[in-house]
């Protein structure tokens, strides 16, 4: 167990290192680092200073180590647009994105799990078929377009909810959160629904497939034969065995929610990391882009690592070292 965790840890470190090479090659070899790192409005003195600071006159392998040193110190350079350290800029938008992703995940679980359970228990009912057809739509509908339609219906036509922005926030655990105020919640609802749509369909289908796999098992028949009430059979015997795949997917999908929040944040002008990266790509604000990419890489590597560990603890049949 311990050896497999250590091995996983080394693999994770290797992935991070590989991604730094890729991002470095992208920024320094494919693109022109002088154009990328130096603000086009900068004067000659400023240019010379930045070139010296990033060692752009050094050989490539040395540049890579300078890049790594910057990463280790959390120094990605200053944003061209805001004139402040890129890392700080991103971290300060992290709560907004986290809040959105957590809310979306919550909606996806609360809606997807019961509906999936229902569709799995009573597959031939018309309502179940309607749910399944709806989930196909949930997969096919382009997220950004659904977001526009949500704004059109609930904000423009009905006027129930605000069209964009984050609303008032309150300080909590060192970050600014909007779910603590009622107006903030109103602002959060539409973006969270929008982001949740795809994941709801995913969890729904996963749960349904799981239920249909579990139901014919002997232990379910046995539980029924024992005379247990149907409610108990479902709540204890079916649901419990569903949880492993669902928990895994939920963990994996949390990262992808954060990645996909770029779309939702852009539509609803939600001031999170995703909106920042899109604005940065459009404005060619490269220090912010590099910082964002590295943070996302780190996030995904940590997430995958944690899920792997959880796997081993949850399901003793899965042993990481058996793979090698």
């Amino acid at each position: 167990m311990v050896t497999s965790i250590i091995r996983r840890l080394f693999q994770a470190l290797f992935v991070v290192l590989a991604m730094t090479v890729i991002v470095f090659i992208g920024v320094s070899v494919i693109g022109n680092p002088v154009d990328i790192l130096i603000n086009p409005d900068a004067n000659q003195v400023e240019r010379a200073r930045v070139i010296a600071h990033y060692g752009l006159d050094e050989p490539l392998w040395k540049q890579y180590f300078i890049f790594l040193r910057g990463l280790a110190q959390g120094d990605f350079g200053d944003s061209f647009v805001y004139g402040r350290p890129a890392l700080g800029l991103i971290l300060e938008r992290l709560p907004a994105t986290l809040e959105l992703a957590i809310a979306a995940l919550g909606i996806a679980i609360v809606v997807g799990l019961p509906l999936g359970l229902y569709a799995g228990l009573y597959p031939s009912r018309i309502s179940s078929r309607t749910i399944m057809t709806g989930s196909i739509l949930g997969f096919s509908l382009p997220t950004f377009w659904v977001g526009l339609m949500l704004i059109m219906i609930f904000s423009v036509e009905l006027g129930w909810l605000p069209t964009n922005g984050r609303g008032p926030t309150l300080e909590f655990l060192g970050g600014q959160w909007s779910f603590l105020t009622s107006d903030g919640l109103r602002h959060l609802l539409l973006p969270a629904l929008n982001l949740a749509l795809f994941k709801t369909s995913l969890i729904l289908r996963l749960t349904r497939a799981g239920v249909q796999e579990v139901l014919p098992q002997d232990y379910i028949k046995f539980a029924r034969a024992k005379g247990l009430r149907e409610r108990r059979v479902i709540a204890v015997h079916v649901l419990k065995n569903l949880m492993i795949p669902v928990v895994t997917i939920v963990g994996l999908e949390f990262g992808s929610l954060i990645a996909f929040s770029v779309v939702t944040e852009s539509i609803f002008a939600w001031p999170g990391m995703g909106k920042l990266i899109i604005d940065s790509i459009n404005l060619l604000d490269r220090p912010v882009i590099v910082a964002y990419l590295m943070i996302m890489v780190l996030l995904f590597v940590v997430l995958n690592f944690v899920i792997d560990i959880c796997y081993t603890i949850l399901d003793p049949r899965v042993r990481l070292d058996s793979k090698a």
Binding site: I30, F144, L148, M152, F260, V263, I277, I278, N282, L293
Partner: protein, 304 residues
């Protein structure tokens, strides 16, 4: 040549996956048949766009700013009816959709085929050679698949810059790994089968075994993934264009049309974004219906 042909033929006949069976099975599902018909119509419309659309929405000579933001069904000064309304430049939305479909479908098909070619070759090569090369390729695949597609695409666009061509490149780079993993898994199973052993006995050259014996038998999952991938690519291209990273105003795509209508949505001019979105939705659903059925039909477990 004759030997390997005879070889292939017996395989095809003994497998339940012969083309006429596949064809019949496919159309036995009404959903798939409708999806297929819709898809044919959409492709036809896209190809014929320059001849059938009421105006060329990107020829500034044909646009009249006075016709800007007209509601669906309005008539222009010179008697042209805008069935789906116009955008702020006086562009007919219907024509915009027809031209936009061209770009969207091209991006989807080109990126899916290119990714399939690269991914299939990599997976096949990895499975056939084994050893260090296999480990290397598969590590790269694992690395890539641990990040969501949109993140990979954003990464590529951040490096390459904006534009439709770069979106296609980003989509190829983001999607090839799926093919590589699937093809390798299939090829590893197929490699051990008797017909490959027989081909080896005949002392056929390696490339020939690879392409004429192994490849044809690994193609079923590739076709399934490629179909679905076209829909995914179209959706992603639209998303990226909507975010302002893809098509420019001079290269229409459905995503770009939706994005130009976005700012007018808040003032109640719904049609500029709404109709291109419906076109996008119909296209994606039609492809998914077809892909779903193709997967069921080509899956040997479902063969009657």
């Amino acid at each position: 040549m004759t030997v390997s042909n005879a070889d292939n033929e017996t395989i095809v006949k003994s497998e339940p996956g012969s083309s006429s069976r596949v064809f019949k099975d496919f159309f036995s599902s009404p959903g798939a048949a409708i999806g297929f018909a819709v898809l044919i119509i959409i492709c036809g419309l896209a190809i014929l766009a320059p001849w059938i659309s009421p105006q060329n929405p990107y020829d500034l000579m044909q646009l009249d700013i006075m016709d800007g933001r007209l509601a669906p069904g309005s008539e222009s000064m010179n008697g042209l009816v805008y069935h789906l309304g116009t955008d702020s430049q006086g562009r007919d939305i219907l024509s915009g959709i027809l031209y936009g479909l061209r770009t969207s479908l091209t991006v989807g098909v080109v990126s899916a085929i290119a990714a399939a070619l690269i991914g299939t070759s990599a997976g096949l090569f990895a499975a056939y050679t084994g050893g260090r090369i296999e480990t290397g390729v598969m590590r790269l695949v694992d690395l890539q698949l641990s990040f969501p597609t949109i993140l990979m695409a954003l990464m590529m666009l951040a490096v390459l810059g904006k534009g439709v061509t770069n979106v296609v490149i980003a989509l190829i780079i983001a999607e090839w790994a799926t093919y590589a993993r699937t093809v390798r898994a299939t090829a590893l199973v197929e490699r051990e089968k008797e017909y490959i052993e027989a081909a080896r006995m005949l002392r056929l050259p390696g490339w020939r075994i690879l392409f004429r014996h192994l490849l044809p038998n690994c193609l079923a999952p590739v076709i399934v993934i490629a179909t679905m991938q076209v829909a995914r690519a179209i959706g992603l291209e639209a998303t990226l264009s909507f975010l302002g990273l893809g098509a420019s105003v001079t290269e229409p795509s459905l995503g770009m049309l939706i994005s130009t209508g976005y700012q007018y949505l808040l003032t109640g001019l719904y049609w500029i974004s709404f109709f291109p979105g419906v076109a996008l939705l119909i296209t994606i659903v039609a492809i998914n219906l077809v892909g779903d059925r193709v997967r069921d039909v080509l899956n040997p477990r479902n063969a009657s």
